[in-house]
Amino acid sequence: MNTINVRYFAGIREKFGRGQDVVNADGIRCAADVWHRVSGVSSVSAPINVLVAVNQEYAPMDHPVRAGDEVAFFPPVTGG
């Protein structure tokens, strides 16, 4: 399974118009690479206010990602 499961939540899910994608892991080294792939943006920096989780733990955009991982993008949280 050479894929990465990508999840979107809240306003970012709405913006994408879907809750998840499955992308090919080839050429992906970190969470930012995943973001560029799914958002179609090639600039280095991700938009402000996008939070990242890799395998359900908070991570920076440069956190390593490999096949089989789950990567999530979401706006600041508002629970409680």
Binding site: R7, F9, A10, G11, R13, A53, Q56, E57, Y58, A72, F74, P75, P76, V77, T78, G79, G80
Partner: protein, 141 residues
């Protein structure tokens, strides 16, 4: 104990049931601190008719478990009870419950406050509210 659930809960009945479930705790703690967050019918100047809580299933439980363990490591407390809802909510509904049992009130208060603060700033929940001016995502304060 952490529970993330769709169905409504009665925080006071949950606490009472939890204490009954652990009769061996009776007499061991001298302080119980509790926080309940509930849905107000107004927010930032507008009437709130309803709210939907989106969450990241799996990550929420992991995060709340981690925060509970941190609190146990840091203060002299028993296993906290944390319940959080997701899905559709009506005004006045309890959203979150944090209950902490400790030998002393300092530990109980500090651990309870720590858990709810960490939950609010880090647990992956997102509030989408229906107000008199339309639907909107709640923005952190």
């Amino acid at each position: 104990m952490v529970r993330v659930q769709r169905h409504p809960f009665d925080p006071w009945a949950e606490i009472a049931a939890h204490e009954r479930q652990y009769p061996q705790w009776a007499g061991k703690y001298g302080a119980t601190a509790v926080f309940v967050g509930s849905l107000r019918d107004f927010n930032q100047g507008h009437t709130v008719a309803a709210m939907t809580l989106e969450h990241y299933a799996g990550m929420t439980e992991k995060h709340l478990d981690k925060v509970s363990r941190e609190a146990i490591a840091r203060w002299e407390i028993l296993d906290p009870l944390v319940i959080h809802r997701y899905g559709p909510l009506a005004p006045a509904d309890p959203i979150v419950l944090v209950a902490v049992w400790s030998a002393h009130r300092d530990g109980a208060f500090l651990a309870c406050r720590y858990i709810i603060d960490e939950l609010k700033t880090r647990a992956p929940f997102w509030k989408h509210e229906e107000t008199d001016i339309g639907r909107r995502w709640v923005v952190p304060e």
